[in-house]
Every structure is written in structure tokens, then in C-alpha cells.
Amino acid sequence: MVNLIWIFMLVSGLLFSIFNGTIDEVNKGLFDSAGQAVELVIGFAAIFTLWLGMMEIARRAGLLNLITKLCFPLIQRLFPDLPKNHPAAGYIMTNVSANFFGLGNAATPFGVKAMKELQVLNHQPEKASRSMVTFLCLNTAAVTFFPATIVSMRLSEGAADPLDIVIPAFAATICSCTAAIIYDRISWRITSGKNHD
């Protein structure tokens, strides 16, 4: 599906630019975006190295194991496929908590690490497993307690109370996360009838 969407994005954009006379902008945009992707990866390299380094210390010191054991009952409800006290649970938990506190950049390496652990359990390595889809839903609709970026932006724009949006945002994030989990469950029920994964 992502294949078709990707092709559609490029083809429709390119065709539109021919009719719209924006070919120059598109040519420039293509190379700029490739450059931006490289810059992003350099940023990732720094964040991933720092945080996965820290996580490895936490793992060897037994801290991650502790988190896994403490949170497993909760995680198992969301991920019924996960074997008891599997290390993926610890990474999922650290990722979810980092998102909760609005630490977007620090959350990513933990999430990628959780994905790696889930991939080990995956029987069809090219295809997303049930737990992977659930984990993705938790992330795309991440429950954010404190949207730090938005609050600081409102502060710099001179808002009388930059925190006034925190309560509605928290309510909305809980609703959308719940919706994501419900959709995940419904779509799993529908598709699992057709193929077993």
C-alpha cells in the first residue's frame, strides 16, 4: 500500500507541476529534500548514538529488565503476542514515556529499538506483525502530556497563558490514542480472518 501511495504522491505532483508551470520549484525541491534527509540522518546519528548508548548501560545495569517486569502486565494487554517479560516491553515503555513528556527526539531511538526487538519475533520479516502495527498506532497517536514545542512557540509569540492549550490537547491526545487502539483491534479482527499473522 505504501508503494502505491508513494508512487501516487510523486506522479501526481510531477504531472501537476507540468500543468502548473512549477517544474523549476519541483526540481529544486527534489534536491533540497534529499539534502534535508541527509541532514536529518546526521541528526539521528547523534541522537541514536547518545540514547542507545545510554539504553545499553541501562540494560546491562538491569534497569531495563526492572522496567520490563514492572510494566509487563500493562504492556501485555496491548500486545497479547508478546512472550512473557520480553525485552521489547521495556523499550516500548521507555518510548511511550518519552512521548508522554513530549521528548520527541529522545523517543525515536527507543521506538526503533523496540521495533528491532519486535522484528526478531516476526515470522514474516518483510511484513509488519500484529504487535508492530499496535506499537505504531501507539506512536502515531502518542499520548502527549506536555507538548513542549508548541508551548514554547506560544510563549515566544507572547501568549498571555501559553499553557491554556495543555488541557484540551491532553484530552484530544487521549481520545485519538484510544481511537487508534480501537481501529487497530477492529482492523486486526477483519484481516486476521483472511491470513494468519
Binding site: 505504501v2 504522491m9 510523486l10 505532483g13 501537476f16 507541476s17 502548473n20 512549477t22 520549484e25 519541483v26 525541491g29 534527509a37 541527509v38 536529518l40 539521528f44 546519528a45 547518545l50 542507545l52 545510554m54 545499553e56 548501560i57 540494560r59 546491562r60 545495569a61 538491569g62 529522545a106 521506538g111 526503533v112 521495533m115 522484528q119 511484513k127 509488519a128 505504531l136 506512536n139 502515531t140 497517536a141 502527549t144 507538548p147 508548541i150 512557540m153 506560544r154 510563549l155 509569540e157 501568549a159 498571555a160 497563558d161 501559553p162 499553557l163 491554556d164 492549550i165 495543555v166 490537547a169 484530552a171 484530544a172 491526545t173 481520545c175 485519538s176 481511537a179 487508534a180 487497530d184
Partner: protein
């Protein structure tokens, strides 16, 4: 308000301190653990590059060709019908696709209308309560080499749509009934 911002800044140092104290107590060789974990991180980041270039190029073509703007103008009357400010629509379309584009729209709306305007508040709540689905899919699935996302994309986008509609409803209700 400043306290909460500085509190959120404190979380990372506190996390590092906890990890290092745990290493001291359990006599873990923290430095060599850091180096070996870090190596894996570097490797992961490098593997992401082709996935990111592919997705960001597609997003850039959509934006720079003017197609995204064209669709925005086409659909905005629908927003007015539901008495939602049409200015919010570009954010609806951009939020699941591109995080930086969405943030720049929110910043622009906040600057244009002032932070106390309902449009700015709507944008802030949408921005604060949702995440960039396409980007997360690219990064997380790219890192482990998943090529068939299955139902993940559909579920993610559907959840985005629900989240954004709920964000609008909640924000309007909250600022009309609770805040004032």
C-alpha cells in the same frame, strides 16, 4: 508556566543520572556499554537514509508543485460548511505527512492571528495532540526493513483524522464553556 517548561527540560538529565547511578551500584562498565550501544545507534541511523530520502522527496514534490495548496483550496469550502475555520485545513492535510511543514503552518497561524485567537488555539491543540504518521512509519518500519506495512498506514491515518476532528470539537467546546 515557566516551571513546567523547565521541569520538562529536567527529565533528560534526571534520566541519565538514574542510569549512571544504577551502573555505579551494579558495578557495570558504563563506558564500554555506552560505546557498544552507540555503535548500534549509528548503524541504525545510516540505514534509515534511503527510506527518508524517498519519502521526503515525495512530500517535497507534492508541496513544491503546488498540488498540496490546490487540494487545500478545493476542500476548504467543506470546512466552512461545518463552521470550522478554513485556515485550519492546510494543517489537517499536512500534519500526518510532514512535521516541519505542519509546525511552520501552526507558527504562521499563531503569528498572523495572535496566540489568543481560536484559530491559533485550534492549530496548537492539533499540533500538540497528534504526530506525523507518515514520518513515524518511514522511520520505524525503515529501520527494520518492513516493506509491507499492511493495515498500519490506514489505521494510522484514520486515527489522525479522528484525532484532528476530536481536537477541533474539544478545543471549541473547552474555550467556549470552560475557559471563558
Amino acid at each position: 508556566m515557566i516551571d513546567l517548561i523547565s521541569l520538562s527540560k529536567l527529565i533528560l538529565p534526571l534520566l541519565i543520572l538514574t542510569i549512571l547511578f544504577a551502573a555505579l551500584i551494579t558495578k557495570t562498565d558504563a563506558y564500554s556499554a555506552f560505546v557498544s550501544g552507540g555503535k548500534e545507534g549509528l548503524h541504525m541511523a545510516a540505514e534509515l537514509l534511503p527510506f527518508l530520502v524517498g519519502m521526503m522527496a515525495a512530500i517535497s514534490v507534492l508541496r513544491s508543485s503546488g498540488l498540496l495548496l490546490w487540494i487545500t483550496n478545493l476542500v476548504s469550502p467543506l470546512f466552512l460548511y461545518f463552521s470550522i475555520p478554513a485556515e485550519i485545513f492546510p494543517l489537517f492535510l499536512t500534519r500526518p505527512i510532514s512535521g516541519t511543514a505542519a509546525l511552520s503552518i501552526t507558527a504562521d497561524l499563531t503569528h498572523t492571528y495572535g496566540p489568543e485567537h481560536m484559530i491559533s488555539r485550534l492549530a496548537a491543540v492539533i499540533q500538540g495532540s497528534t504526530d506525523t504518521t507518515l514520518y513515524i512509519l518511514t522511520v520505524y518500519f525503515g529501520a527494520v526493513g518492513i516493506k509491507k506495512m499492511g493495515r498500519a498506514l490506514m489505521v494510522g491515518l484514520l486515527a489522525d483524522l479522528t484525532g484532528m476532528i476530536l481536537a477541533v470539537v474539544i478545543t471549541i467546546w473547552y474555550f467556549q464553556n470552560v475557559w471563558s
